[in-house]
């Protein structure tokens, strides 16, 4: 379990000094800095920030209008100044509680205004706290669909948003078709309920795992982003696939980690977090960043072929 902290500023400075350090290649699929001490010994593989890479962020369980959400949003904006990600995928629970027009402002448009003004597009998936009609909300870019896919603006990437509170047979059939027909190198599903999670509150959703994992394995998915548990976690590869739980974008369940699951590669339940990613060719670099700007996890995932 990783609880190390490394300032985002330091990481960016290091990368700048190293001339955007080249990733290490090797048989291990995922490498992550495990602690500040280890990070000092092992070259940090963080974000190369290359001009033609696809840069995106992942945010989950955030829309509660709290001061913590606003602080997290401010950190996201700060990171964006140095690492200009083009889009944010959300893993659900976008708006907690009532969904009046003023709630969309207070819980989304105001906190993320700097990002929205900078042209960052949000692509939402829905969680159990979200009404179905969010799919029509222009700034969530769902175009009226509960589940949908879109191609990343750079690199060869397809994002697939699922609606995991209501996985009707039609949706599973649609997912199979999307994956089967995809010619993209990267197929990145994102949705709310984690098939793998060490969150003490919810944990792994085995019913979702049973329905989705065989398709992910069959069609060479490499990485999956989820939320629901209000923690950050990156799993060890499960049947070759790395699962992220990015469910602390606004909400946090402090210390709510089950250390006995055996699936954790890195996790954090001490502060809110979001994830920034960069895809360049066959590699996906990631940093999980806390509300205070600490890099709480980082590494690179090589895509399955």
């Amino acid at each position: 379990m990783h609880r190390g902290r490394l300032s985002a500023t330091v990481v960016f400075a290091l990368l700048a000094i190293l001339g955007c350090a080249q990733p290490q290649r090797g048989p291990v699929q995922v490498q992550g800095a495990q602690s500040p001490q280890q990070a000092a010994q092992v070259p940090v593989i963080a974000l190369p920030n290359r001009p033609d890479s696809l840069k995106f962020a992942v945010l989950g369980d955030f829309g509660d209008g709290s001061s913590a959400q606003f602080q997290m949003a401010a950190e996201m904006a700060r990171v964006h100044q140095r690492f200009p990600y083009e889009l944010v995928i959300t893993v659900g629970d976008n708006i907690y509680g009532s969904e009046r027009p003023q709630d969309f402002q207070r819980k989304f448009e105001v906190p993320y205004k700097p990002l929205l003004d900078a042209g960052v597009k949000f692509y939402a998936s829905l969680g159990n706290h979200d009404s179905r009609e969010q799919r029509f909300y222009k700034l969530f870019n769902m175009e009226g669909e509960l589940y949908y896919s879109f191609k990343g603006p750079k690199q060869n990437v397809k994002f697939i948003a699922l609606e995991s509170t209501y996985l009707v047979p039609e949706q599973i059939a649609w997912l199979q078709k999307e994956l089967e027909g995809s010619r993209e190198d990267w197929k990145i599903p994102f949705f709310h309920h984690p098939p793998y999670s060490s969150g003490g509150r919810h944990g792994s959703h085995l019913d979702h795992r049973e329905a989705l994992e065989p398709l992910f394995v069959k069609y060479n998915v490499s990485v999956v982003f989820t939320g629901h548990d209000h923690i950050y976690e990156r799993t060890k590869p499960q049947q070759g696939i790395v699962y992220f739980v990015a469910g602390s974008g606004g909400k946090l369940r402090r210390g709510n980690l089950d250390s006995t699951t055996g699936i954790t590669a890195a996790s954090n339940a001490t502060d809110r977090a979001f994830v920034v990613c960069e895809i360049d060719g066959d590699e996906l670099f990631f940093n999980a960043i806390s509300r205070t700007g600490a890099v709480i996890d980082s590494g690179v995932i090589t895509r399955r072929k």
Binding site: D130, Y137, Y166, P169
Partner: protein, 206 residues
């Protein structure tokens, strides 16, 4: 996965049979019209199949009413503002409430349907994954609160997650309706209007 696919396949059969069962109830000597949707060898009895076919008729009629009323409102664009979404939802809610003035619990999920639903759900929940499935449904589920047919789904209550295995065990619904749970009650949620079209108590096996 094989088990899930089997359930999904059976469900498609069930939905298909349901969708075509719009004639009178089959005579007693005929084979049941509706295949049992769960992963059991036993088929539905004729009365159960009839109950599901009649349920299908009722929800189809509901969906037609919903579409007719929604068509009188300005079409909601695929991408719009929260104000427009809210206005559309409230307007549709008002229209449906006016149209279904006399609606009461049991209009869609009648006692006969309730009995079959309980059987179908009991089979799913009594299986090896039953505890996990029930746990998923009851996760962040508020328990028993007062429900009224045609009322707005309570804003502060998250939607229950309905696992794919449970959805596959129940008859397919028109696009405008969804199965959800509030506590141990199964509800039919009108998605666009965000209202409760009907509900049944004690959906879980005792």
């Amino acid at each position: 996965m094989r088990r899930l696919l089997a359930v999904l396949g059976a469900s498609v059969l069930s939905a298909s049979a349901c969708a075509h069962a719009d004639g009178p109830a089959p005579p007693a000597e005929q084979k049941p019209v509706v295949q049992q949707p769960a992963n059991e060898a036993r088929q539905l009895t004729t009365p159960d199949a009839t109950a599901l076919a009649e349920f299908n008729q009722r929800v189809t009629q509901y969906a037609e009413m919903h579409k007719r009323l929604e068509a009188t409102l300005p079409k909601l664009p695929k991408e719009t503002t929260p104000e427009a979404i809210n206005a559309h939802q409230r307007a549709l809610e008002k229209l449906i409430r006016a149209e279904r003035k006399a609606a009461k619990q049991g209009d869609l999920i009648t006692p006969a349907t309730r009995r079959v639903f309980r059987q179908l759900l009991a089979r799913v929940f009594s299986g090896p994954e039953g505890r996990e499935l029930k746990g998923t449904i009851l996760d962040e589920n508020p328990g028993n609160i007062g429900l009224t047919v045609n009322a707005r789904y309570p804003d502060q209550i998250p939607l229950s997650t309905v696992p794919p295995q449970v959805l596959a065990s129940l008859p397919k619904l028109p696009e405008d309706l969804e199965y959800r749970f509030i506590g141990e009650r199964l509800i039919l949620l009108d998605v666009h209007a965000h209202t409760i079209a009907d509900f049944m108590d004690n959906a879980f096996p005792a």
